[in-house]
């Protein structure tokens, strides 16, 4: 019973509790490398900018799922509903003459968040299975509604005539996708900063608490349902911004933005990269798109087979996705959880 309780190795000064928390929230070399690589990609692959833009959009979509699944532990098979809502919101605005991109993107986020808020009450109760079914069902309904409302969405023909104004009134969306890439990357970075901030704030702790033990959360006085509504709304809003980006950079919206494939892809990307760490969705998006490119070059028709095989291997043998794998490789000893901070 005479154990020393200083809580730190004798060599170092005892770390204060706030310092311990801060340590986990610090920027690291990995952050710098990742974003530097994203900038460098523009110069290294000037002919592949449309692909890079797609990666940024997919990354943002996966990041929004990470907030939901990786942090709060809410499974969803219908996140495309929000991506699509954002895409149509931005597209329809531009089609009707509101071509200013930044306000259009804000509108996309708001419309998707409103849809998220309205449907959040359906995912409060029930098990993971219930949530899977409810989110899937909601997304199917939204897809059919968009299909039916052809006067507004163009239905199966898609939304044509989306014309964007220059970003800040200066940078025209060009044929090579220069502006599109810078724009998408900047939006991704800003959304990343916002989400990073959220998960490092008290609310981030709340989300991880809900995932860890919802029963105990209510026993410490947490209004769990209110928190769930908040995170579902937020995640929907970010997905909507990703959808808006797609509409603005491709200047076209089709029903694909709402389909099951899109929800599944977002989930897949997140699992490949690693959920519950901010970079999971981003690294996953890079890996997924590159793998897709590479495999479809080798075997045009059967690339999905190999993608499926890679996914199965990854899930079975590399828990925590690519980032989990990388961390284990770098450390070679029991990994300590490092959510919220860098990967």
């Amino acid at each position: 019973m005479t154990r020393v309780e200083t809580g730190a190795p004798p060599a170092a000064a005892p770390a204060s509790a706030a310092a311990l928390l801060r340590e986990r929230a610090r920027w690291s070399l990995f952050d710098l490398l990742f974003w530097a690589a994203a900038l460098a990609a523009f110069f290294v692959f000037p002919l592949r900018l449309p692909l890079l833009t797609e990666i940024a959009i997919l990354g943002l979509f996966a990041l929004s799922i990470d907030l939901l699944l990786g942090y709060a532990g809410i499974v969803s098979l219908g996140h495309a509903a929000f991506f699509g809502a954002g895409a149509y919101a931005a597209g329809i605005l531009a089609q009707h003459g509101w071509g200013e991109p930044i306000s259009g993107l804000a509108a996309a986020g708001l419309v998707a968040a409103a849809l998220g808020f309205a449907t959040s009450f359906l995912v409060l109760r029930g098990s993971d299975l219930t949530r899977l079914m409810v989110t899937l069902g909601v997304a199917m309904m939204v897809l059919e509604a968009a299909n039916k409302a052809a006067w507004l969405t163009g239905g199966a023909d898609g939304l044509n005539g989306v014309v964007m104004d220059p970003v800040f009134g200066v940078f025209e969306f060009d044929l090579f996708g220069h502006t599109a890439y810078w724009y998408a990357l900047a939006v991704l970075f800003l959304c990343f900063l916002a989400i990073r901030r959220i998960v490092n704030a008290p609310f981030g702790l709340v989300l991880r608490g809900i995932q860890g033990n919802a029963l105990r959360m209510s026993a410490v006085g947490a209004p769990v349902n209110r928190h769930l509504v908040a995170v579902y709304t937020l995640a929907a809003g970010f997905a909507g911004i990703a959808g808006g980006l797609l509409a603005q950079t491709t200047q076209f919206v089709s029903l694909d933005v709402l389909n099951f494939q899109r929800s599944a892809e977002g989930l897949l990307v997140l699992i490949i990269g690693g959920s519950g760490v901010l970079y999971g969705g981003l690294v996953g998006a890079v890996a997924f798109k590159l793998m897709q490119e590479w495999l479809s070059n080798i075997t045009t028709q059967y690339w999905q087979f190999w993608l499926g095989a890679a996914l199965v291997l990854l899930v079975l043998f590399a828990r925590g996705g690519l980032l989990g794998l990388a961390r284990r490789f770098l450390r070679r000893r029991p990994a300590r959880s490092e959510r919220g901070g860098a990967a």
Binding site: E5, A17, Q211, N213
Partner: protein, 253 residues
């Protein structure tokens, strides 16, 4: 003085079975009370009704004079009724520091903050560290909860509850499963609870009960049999009968 907790004919039936039967019971602020009873006496159901996990079939609950019978679980916690769990209910991926901090943020209404980094809440972090130090958890406060020893996790159960700043603390078998060598730590922690917190200890371990409690309530078959000081409860023939085969002054059989 207004009792911190007062139940009035609190009852709950499951089908034909009266699991809790017209329990009228009160606790003074700062009380040190134990609730004992043989297996199946309704202790767990009683705690679940108090904390709002299940609704009573009949009767009412008052917390510091306010009727809380219809309030949700987290609203009761906000008003000062906090519990620990017989089977650990912790956050496996969070560190003890984060777990306690989370409870403090919820208590202070800061949990919904999306913008201010958690580490900037220095007062909250210091408070969390102080609570953890009091429960001998300072040396493990930065490890994932899943990686700390079982006995430490039992201590953390109490630490998280204390962070909610309870007026009434329900301790549900705090020493359950703790090896003998570490029981002293739990007992010391319970003995050192702040005196302004009323404590209701639900426990099988008679050693712990008789060391800690100033009054003991005995629940048998869903009914409150006796509520008195330990000496008289121990001497009560009805209690001895209910505990047939178990020793009241030593460990439970």
């Amino acid at each position: 003085m207004t009792p911190i907790l007062a139940t009035d004919r609190l009852s709950r039936s499951f089908g034909g079975l009266r699991a809790v039967n017209e329990v009228t019971f009160s606790l003074a602020p700062g009380a040190r009370q134990a609730l004992i009873g043989p297996n199946g006496a309704g202790k767990t159901t009683f705690v679940n009704i108090l904390t709002g996990v299940i609704a009573p079939s009949f009767g009412s609950i008052r917390l510091a004079g306010e009727d809380i019978t219809r309030l949700s679980r987290h609203q009761r916690v906000r008003r000062g009724m906090v519990r620990t769990f017989q089977v650990n209910q912790l956050f496996p991926d969070l560190t003890p520091l984060e777990s306690v901090l989370l409870a403090i943020f919820e208590r202070d209404g800061k949990a919904a903050n999306l913008r201010r980094p958690a580490w900037r809440e220095e007062a909250a972090a210091e408070e969390a560290a102080a609570i953890l130090a009091r429960l001998k958890l300072a040396d493990v406060m930065d490890l994932p909860t899943a990686e700390i020893a079982y006995g430490k996790r039992r201590q953390l159960e109490i630490a998280v509850a204390l962070a909610c700043r309870p007026k009434l603390l329900l301790l549900d078998e705090p020493a359950a499963g703790v090896p003998d060598g570490e029981r002293q730590d739990i007992m010391a922690a319970i003995a050192a609870l702040p005196r302004d917190v009323a404590v209701l200890l639900i426990e099988h371990d008679m050693d712990l009960v008789f060391r800690f409690a100033e009054r003991i309530a005995v629940l048998v078959g869903g009914t409150l049999l006796v509520e008195d000081v330990p000496e008289r409860v121990a001497a009560d023939p009805r209690v001895r009968e209910a505990y047939l085969g178990e020793s009241l002054d030593g460990r439970a059989a």
